[in-house]
Symmetry: C2
Subunit: 200 residues, 2 copies
DNA sequence: TTGACAACATAACAACCGTTGTGATGCTAT
DNA sequence: ATAGCATCACAACGGTTGTTATGTTGTCAA
């Protein structure tokens, strides 16, 4: 279950710090995630943080990398898998908040995304990451279209962006109004926006 | 063009401060919008801010109120207007970023939204605001459905949430990748998600 | 037993934050 | 002319921030 096969004890401890940082960011926000707050969440002092990370930027870099890994780990290879519309639904279902601990990762991801809007370096990273998702979905939809699973008259690139937008939108709304956006309701919205993919 | 018909000079000066605050938030982020940074944006010192506002919270309250006013000002009364699908498109078109100075307002709004996720008081405000939009769209779609402008088998409440989600999603993506999300492309995505509203 | 090193705790530092009080300036009504 | 008030500039305050240096503890090889 560990991240790496040859993970040293130091690496696992580092991961604990990253986890604690995510917890603080998700609960209090990115700007309130100070060194001392993170250390307190960990039940230690800032000495732990400075020992395993060069500075705060370094720590946040590890956090962002962990989030990105979470985003891409459960991704499928669009060229090797013959996905049906049902598979697409399941894939999005596991990705959205409302299931498992996804809400925590969504909160952290959204915090970094908004912060990236004011940081050209981080903005470029986010752009390329979304570009990656975009090309993945475009390839997947193109393959499905060739197999007749997606209506022929649709533009796969545009539909890929529709998926990205609807997922982001549902994600945000679910974070704002979790009592309204149950997992089933999130899926209902996604399916409503995706129904047009079906042929005929 | 002023906000209020009987606006005093003090009110207009207050509005200048609010505008400057929005500019700083949009450019540098909410956490970087310090009193001194806002004053510098205004070409003054913090004396101006403390004179017109009790404290920073008070100032940010005015900013949020200005944003909300921007959100609701160009809203239509769903019961009095006989909107067509074309009108819905135009309404959303004026609302999305990519047109006029909407991008600035979107950045500020998103900053407040993410901050609200870690503040139960602000979170409730955002929830009720989205609830307001939700009921507006539901009423509008219901009326259009009764007039045969929207397919009869659809659930207006669900479709209202689809609209809210797709707008938020397109808005965020447009802020992240403005060079990709032109105004026309934003509209194309919205129209793609909205095409299913048409009857038959 | 001792020395080296990892794993922290602790304290101090400058920089920045929001807030407050004080004073200078200029306009306005009397 | 002068009192009064609006409109700021400015400095200082306590608190919090990230960073750095130094101290303490345990472990383990030689």
């Amino acid at each position: 279950m560990s991240a790496q096969p040859n993970a040293t004890p130091a690496d696992s401890r580092r991961d604990e710090v990253v986890q604690a940082t995510c917890a603080v960011i998700a609960r209090e926000g990115l700007d309130r995630a100070s060194m001392r707050a993170i250390a307190q969440e960990l039940g230690s002092t800032t000495g732990v943080l400075t020992h395993y990370f060069r500075d705060k930027n370094d720590l946040l870099g590890f956090v962002l990398k962990a989030i990105i890994a979470k985003l891409e780990l459960d991704r499928i290879d669009p060229s090797s898998v013959e996905a049906s519309l049902e598979d697409v639904r399941n894939l999005l279902g596991r990705y959205l908040p409302g299931a498992a601990d996804n809400e925590l990762w969504w909160r952290v991801w959204l915090a970094f995304t908004v912060a990236a809007l004011s940081d050209s370096k981080q903005a470029e990273q986010h752009r390329s990451l979304y570009a990656q998702m975009r090309s993945m979905w475009t390839a997947l939809l193109t393959a499905m279209q060739a197999r007749g699973e997606v209506a022929a008259e649709l533009d796969p690139a545009l539909e890929a962006d529709v998926i990205l937008c609807i997922v982001d939108g549902v994600g945000i709304q679910a974070l704002i109004s979790p009592e309204l956006y149950s997992h089933d309701y999130q899926m209902a919205i996604v399916e409503a926006a995706l129904a047009r993919l079906a042929p005929r």
